[in-house]
Symmetry: C4
Subunit: 251 residues, 4 copies
């Protein structure tokens, strides 16, 4: 296998699509958001990307064996812009691999003539969230304006640590290819898989792109997570917000 | 030395052989199983694979010095299918090396026209095993059916963490070459080198391939391991199953 | 993106410039020094270097998104020698990347015909500093003499651990290109971002190169740091020098 | 700089030389032995090897700056066989680098037509040594016999963990080039820089190669180390052998 391999699954035409990425990260916000899109809208898997920089691993499920990979799905929703959705279970395992992999992702985007990129993720706040704000970062003023119009917050020098991994490089390497890109980061405690944060991100994206999805299943999953938190709080005999000690990463 | 080097040891013809892999892993189940095959059946070393991704290490034994490598052995048993058996003391030390090494292994398999692959290993249960089930994962329905017939269990989404290392990639990269592959994983505590689990895996393999081997020496080794466990239990004044604390990896 | 990419920002002519490097390191001494130069003197960004060996990261600030990089700035001060100043937020993340990156930096230096190199940094003493000495290391006797004349101390076998990272390799790889190079290391506790040490280094450099800068803002920043230290000492009820326990890396 | 670079320092003719390696390792036995040879016998530096797999580091000493490297020295002693002596302060920092670096070392050996290799090192026993045995491992029966004649011990399956790093690969990769190679490992506690173990190794080598050296300075250094041990023992109020707790790596 080459260092990076792009496998064609199906030939699909998309009209000026937007690339939407949601790989694993803080609170699994991006991954949950993208998986929800794929559940709610009709999609066709179009490309799969393998890499020697993914873990040397296969997953086992009902469909059999799957080698570590990331997958692109084409969505042409009834309402709104066409989408090329990137999902998967892995990030690259080393620096050089991160750069090479995101270049491979952008090559796929070029094949489909994507006109801009939205990288979805979470931003950790360290405390449980009451109101789920979505923080934005973008490579063009146009995108910034458009996102502010639908309620995304652009805060000076936030996130303070920058944006790392695939989402960060989609912006950085996208910018080098003159491809407008924005990162939409749902606020999340950072301790829990966070379906509410994923919903907040999707609602913003919906405002920009115009698709229609139902949030029932995400809300159900959020309720389940709240039950988990409540139980932890009871076990600790502590009705207030859990401390860092209480909350380990639960998902 | 190149990144991967395949050395020819002897020219041997095999008829539609099956590739059987048993490199070090959980409970050394795969390694024990494969070493037992090599002890019990007549075998000829045919290829040795060196790699810059193996540890920078030589082993010292009666035969002298041996550079870190993996070795293929040809077996044409009286009963049953020909086998190309892969054994060794090392896995690759990095992700990229894992991918490259398994590609080299599959290249050797191609040379011998192997028609399918069985990767042998263990799956950790975290507790001492009473009944040694063998869990399966496979890339084709045909292989799954055949293995279920000889008692291998295929459980939904197991192993949960997927299959990592050489065994996992033999399935994943084998599938990409249209070479049917299955992983046979003997249940094992994960704390001890486990000859009983290795025997359970071999008995299943025997059911599929038809070779005949005696298990006396594996049973002796299992008895030795049980003595070790018993002594640990006594030292701890604890006649019941040892806890995680008692059991470190012993081999 | 290639493993290393040099982007031209602006075409600027410099006359026999000196290359001055100040990337992150002990006490952020080199980085503070170089940033102060860029604040106080007119500068033009001329080259930016990207690398797959930098972290896979973008920073977010008022100017938008910036992919991890290092930047060269041209300075032609009214008094003194022209300077090509290298600044940035990152070192390479692996050995091979360090070597390749410094070679890229030296290639940029060659483009501008730099005639020598000053790498700026800090040397940790493990205790709070009263008098800010500057330690030197150099690849030519001529440079050593010149630096001793302006008060730089050359101490036998110091720093004992050698010089690591970009500063070290600028000397080592510069020497292999017959480009005279020196490292100026301000003594610093190693626990704190140290503007006073940065000022000591700049004053020495000023003695060699002849530029004129005001140190007001660095002194303000040093006062702020001293307030921080004083507060820590009070919190510990300890008016004397803070211990290792008191002082973690603060900046 | 290339991944590996061999720099010619001086053109020297050697007659059927033996390659002797002593890079840092357990107890610094190999390094001490080789440095003692270079101090006691007339030697000429002939090649220097740089690598991107060495640490990104320069050392600072009276002679100025030195980029991380390994160095070959030619020795034509009055008595005994010519020697090509490999010394240095570093091992490679990653697996792939180890393999590539040793290949570069063997290329230099080929240039000088070395006819065999002695890799010098230490083998840790975990306790203070009374009698300094030297353990051997070799790639040919001829070498084994020759070394046994001068008192080297060849013990079944020792060292149990194999031989790692440059010494191990000189044997493993040397064997692949049909170049006879042996490793001479002085027993050492593993806690201390061990000049006595280095002397034991050199005395064995002297028996094979026939050179003449004085051991006064190594004995002085051994006395110093013993003073250090004694002081530690006194500080612990413990006149018997120091425990693992007492002895950290001291050198």
């Amino acid at each position: 296998m080459d260092e990076y391999e792009i496998e064609t699954l199906e030939a699909v035409e998309l009209e000026s699509p937007v690339l939407i990425e949601g790989l694993p990260g803080v609170g699994h916000v991006g991954k949950l958001a993208v998986e929800h899109l794929l559940e709610e809208l009709d999609s066709t898997p179009v490309r799969r990307v393998y890499s020697q920089h993914f873990p040397p691993q296969v997953t086992v499920d009902d469909d059999g064996i799957e080698l570590a990979s990331a997958e692109f799905h084409a969505i042409s929703p009834e309402d709104g812009q066409d989408m090329l959705v990137l999902s998967g279970d892995h990030q690259a395992q080393d620096n050089v691999g991160h750069y090479g992999l995101v270049d491979a992702f952008l090559d796929v985007g070029d094949e489909f003539d994507v006109e801009r990129i939205f990288a979805l993720g979470g931003v950790p706040t360290g405390e449980l969230i009451e109101e789920y704000d979505v923080i934005g970062a973008s490579t063009t003023d146009g995108l910034t304006d458009e996102l502010e119009d639908v309620g995304v917050e652009f805060r000076e020098n936030e996130p303070a640590g920058g944006i790392v991994g695939v989402s960060g490089l989609l912006l950085g390497l996208g910018q080098r290819r003159d491809l407008p890109a924005a990162c939409l980061m749902g606020e999340t405690s950072g301790y829990l898989v966070d379906p509410k944060s994923a919903q907040a991100v999707l609602e913003v994206l919906q405002g920009v792109l115009g698709f229609e999805v139902d949030y029932g299943s995400l809300e159900d999953r959020a309720d389940e997570m709240e039950d988990v938190v409540r139980k932890i709080q009871e076990m600790e005999g502590n009705a207030s917000a859990p401390t860092d000690e209480d909350l380990r990463y639960i998902g």
